[in-house]
């Protein structure tokens, strides 16, 4: 007999419908699977066989054929275990086949019939909802992740028996109670707080601007200056995520399987810090399944690259496209997937191999050619995409510095949040959330300078020999500074501050 069950598969971060058909007919006992199943999907026949038997149902001793349509896309992963089991039960008439219509099944089976958590539930639910399905059966372990999609009934099952009894109507399961995504915000405790960073006022301020406007930031300074510590504090001042951002980021993490089972949804901006031995594929995404890489996992958050010149040049150059387009296209032999990759790049580096060039407290022991080679590892096009660069030197404290006030992260975050709200409002409907992603036209429209500001910018460029490409960067940063102080127009003081954060363009670097 023939039975058909609906399920969903993943293509990048989008779900697509898969029909699982099973046919049981006379022949030598055996199991045939067609429709391009990958290794982990092929293995499901052993799991399904045991799960059915151990759940107290009968397994057919006939010839079983399973087809997964569309037959030309590769199916991978164990999430088809449950639909296959349901299809076999329906084909062996242990379940009424017509009750399976309009239902979607997703889940991995263990040998004893338990249904286990799978990755990618969120994008699948979103896709199913948009295609008009309103009843989905998912593993109980994914319940939290599913609870933020409204307008679709999701039934979490713990084991195969639950699923069968729910379908047959013997014992109905309550659909998951959904809540609004905006309510998901957790109060997060951060281990690192700016309150504990002494001095470094310039760097802290630059971080605040970067967080508020989503700007890329490069810190340059000798070892021990506190670059890594500053970067670690950054998550504590990042602006709250908008519901749309939460959903998008969660989708990617859901596909990557890196979601916290308890929380189910990502409410704080991700902070990804891949080590400099990271491979190209790990950064961009790829592999046989075209899984998302670090740049996508950092979507709507921060990608922190410590000791930037230590990364292989081939790895760094890859960042250029996502920094510009905010997406990355991962092409593999069988498929090409586009992942969003809108991240803030925070990088740190030493000014030379020994780290002490230009330091006020230690001597540099590098030869000129060593320094040149070291700096040449970073290409100009990559540096072009970084809005703020600041020097972070070892602080020589005089007795006064210890008494300096240090703001805590919460205070800074409040300012950042206000500035970000202004930006979200300003760019509503354009798909842009922050000043750093302004297009050239937007810079023209929204970065209006007062005549004082104009004059100051002009003199600053002549005085400091800033390049033409620095112009747009300075304007964007000045826009963020103006937003932080709640000004409609960019004033001269904002421009003046913005040029402070162009260390690499300054004369003492040339």
């Amino acid at each position: 007999m023939l039975a058909k069950v609906n399920s969903y598969g993943l293509d990048g971060i989008n779900g697509y419908k898969i029909e699982v058909e099973s046919d049981i007919h006379n022949g030598l006992p055996g199991w045939e699977m067609v429709g391009l199943p990958g290794a982990s999907t092929k293995e499901s026949k052993e799991r399904v066989r045991s799960a059915i038997a151990n759940s107290g149902y009968g397994f057919s001793p006939k010839k079983i054929t399973i087809n997964m349509a569309p037959a030309d896309t590769k199916k991978d992963g164990p999430l088809y275990d449950l639909p296959i089991a349901m299809a076999i039960l329906a084909a062996t008439e242990q379940l009424q086949a017509d009750k399976l219509n309009d239902l979607i099944f997703i889940g991995e089976l263990s040998l004893n019939g338990e249904v286990k958590r799978v990755r990618g539930i969120l994008p699948i639910l979103i896709a199913a909802k948009s295609e008009g399905y309103d009843r989905v059966i998912i593993p109980d372990g994914n319940r939290n992740e599913a609870s933020y999609i409204e307008g679709i009934n999701v039934y979490p099952v713990k084991n195969l028996r639950d699923a069968v009894m729910h379908v047959s109507g013997e014992k109905l399961i309550e659909p998951i109670f959904t809540h609004e995504i905006a309510s998901a915000r957790y109060k997060t405790e951060y281990a690192d707080d700016f309150r504990y960073v002494m001095g470094q006022f310039a760097a802290k301020r630059a971080m605040e601007i970067a967080a508020a406007g989503g700007h890329n930031l490069l810190m340059i300074g000798p070892p021990g200056g506190g670059k890594t510590m500053l970067a670690k504090c950054l998550p504590s001042i990042l602006p709250d995520m908008t519901p749309a951002e939460m959903l998008e980021t969660t989708k990617i993490h859901s596909v990557a399987g890196s979601l916290d089972e308890e929380r189910g949804i990502i409410t704080t901006r991700p902070f990804r810090a891949p080590h400099h031995t990271v491979s190209r594929i790990a950064l961009t995404g790829g592999g046989a399944n075209a899984h998302p890489g670090e740049v996508s996992l950092a979507h709507n958050g921060v990608l922190f690259l410590d000791e930037l010149p230590e990364y292989p040049r081939s790895v760094l150059e890859i960042l250029r496209q996502p920094l510009e387009d905010k997406t990355i296209t991962v092409s593999r032999a069988l498929r090409s997937v586009e992942y969003p990759a809108h991240f803030m790049l925070i990088a740190s580096m030493n000014p030379c191999p020994c780290g002490n060039y230009g330091s006020q407290t230690a001597d540099c022991t590098c030869t000129p050619s060593q320094i040149q080679k070291y700096l040449a590892r970073l290409s100009a096009p990559l540096l072009d995409r970084i809005d703020l660069h600041i020097g972070v030197d070892n602080v020589k404290y005089d007795e006064l510095a210890g008494k300096g006030y240090s703001e805590d992260s919460a205070t800074i975050r409040n300012r950042v949040n206000v500035a970000r709200e202004i930006q979200v409002k300003r760019y509503e409907g354009t798909g842009v959330y922050c000043n750093a992603s302004m297009t050239n036209k937007m810079v023209k429209d929204y970065c209006k300078l007062t005549s004082d500001g104009e004059q100051l910018l002009k003199t600053a460029f002549e005085k400091f020999g800033l390049s033409a490409r620095a112009y747009g960067r300075v304007l964007k940063v000045a826009r963020t500074i103006a937003d932080l102080s709640g000004e409609e127009n960019i004033l001269a003081t904002h421009v003046a501050e913005a040029v402070q954060y162009r260390t690499l363009d300054r004369s003492y670097r040339k």
Binding site: Q200, F201, S369, V392, G404, I481
Partner: protein, 369 residues
């Protein structure tokens, strides 16, 4: 066969100044030429085996003329030590006069008052700053700056001088077609265009480790004084310093931080009283008995607002860290950063290094009453 062509022949065969010093009182160059041509054993034995072989292989008047013309066509000229334009300052046995000099550029510069600015290749930001300062000031005084076209201090000295439209002479440690290091080739072209490049080595001769110390005697030789801006204990600049002392030239050093290992060499010259400390071009002018051409550059007067004045007062105590400025002023960092930029733009202060600021000594601030 002219004497000049014969001297050119000696230069082409890399006959050293030392050897020439010994020969020039005994034979004329033409006599040597003929001696080698006719295998005079007495003359051949004067040179080492390798040099003799080389001399022999070049011993062809027609070919020499051809080489000379071709070189001239490439813009490189030759002057022998007996020529009119040859710098008199090099005709000194202490200098060890080279047989001749190849040159490219404005040869008249050799007659101008010249001061050498030399130092280490691995220059610190401080070294960079003082080299720039003294080179700029000297150039403004109309003094010609000689140096060795190396990385670091040498390159900065040439570069600054050219930027100030001053006169500069580069003395190369190799042939004029082989400027080194690679990174200074562009600078070399600029020097040839606006200044002068000289070398005692044939144009195609690549620099060798021993040629750099040799050329240092010419750097100090053509100069009235030698200024070392920064040199560690092991530095080529100290060889130039020795040459200067031997040749009886004035030797100056710019004092540096005593804890900096990058200036131990130049500081040591000061302790041992071999060199005089200088901090500006006017010190050099005074010591050399030259009158400053430029009137003292007029100070600019700037008026500041109250916050600007407060900030300026903090910097009166010398260079200051951003953090310390913030603490002393008790103002939010972003206001301080903004004000610092503004003061910097109007020229009242200088952003010396990342997060380090100091006042600009060339600008006078009007008190705000």
């Amino acid at each position: 066969m002219t004497e000049k062509l014969a001297l050119f022949w000696l230069s082409q065969a890399l006959v050293s100044g030392k050897k020439f010093l010994y020969l020039k009182n005994k034979y004329t160059a033409v006599e040597l030429f003929d001696g080698i041509r006719y295998n005079d054993s007495q003359i051949t034995s004067l040179f080492g085996e390798i040099t003799a072989k080389k001399l022999k292989s070049l011993c062809n008047e027609e070919k020499l003329n051809e080489t000379y013309d071709k070189m001239t066509y490439d813009g490189i000229r030759y002057m022998s030590c007996y020529d009119e334009e040859f710098p008199k300052s090099l005709l000194n046995d202490e200098v060890i006069t080279p047989v001749g000099l190849y040159y490219k550029g404005d040869v008249k510069l050799l007659n101008s008052v010249t001061v050498a600015v030399v130092g280490t290749r691995a220059v610190t930001p401080y070294g960079k700053e003082v080299t720039k300062k003294i080179s700029r000031e000297l150039a403004q005084e109309g003094i010609c700056i000689a140096s060795g076209l190396a990385d670091g201090v040498d390159g900065i000295a040439h570069e600054t001088c050219l930027e100030t439209n001053g006169k500069t002479i580069a003395v190369l440690g190799g042939g004029l077609k082989k400027p080194s290091p690679e990174s200074n080739v562009k600078l070399f072209d600029k020097v040839c265009e606006k200044g002068l490049a000289i070398s005692e080595y044939p144009p195609d001769f690549p620099p060798a480790p021993y040629t750099f110390p040799e050329r240092n005697r010419i750097v100090s030789g053509i100069s009235k004084a030698v200024i070392i801006t920064e040199a560690p204990l092991k530095s080529g600049a100290l060889i130039t310093a020795e040459c200067a002392i031997k040749q009886g030239k004035e030797l100056f050093c710019i004092p540096a931080n005593v804890t900096s290992r990058r200036s131990e060499g130049s500081n040591a010259l000061l302790y041992s009283l071999k060199a005089k400390p200088v901090s500006s071009a006017s010190d050099v002018m005074r010591a050399l008995g030259l009158r400053s051409k430029n009137k003292k550059t007029e100070k600019r007067y700037i008026q500041l607002d109250i916050f600007g004045q407060k900030l300026y007062n903090v910097l009166q105590n010398g260079e200051t860290f951003f953090d310390n400025i913030v603490v002393k002023l008790q103002h939010p960092p972003h206001e301080v950063a903004s004000k610092l930029s503004q003061l910097e733009i109007i020229g009242a202060i200088i952003n010396k290094a990342p997060n380090v600021y100091e006042i600009n000594p060339d600008v006078e601030i009007k008190e705000n009453n």
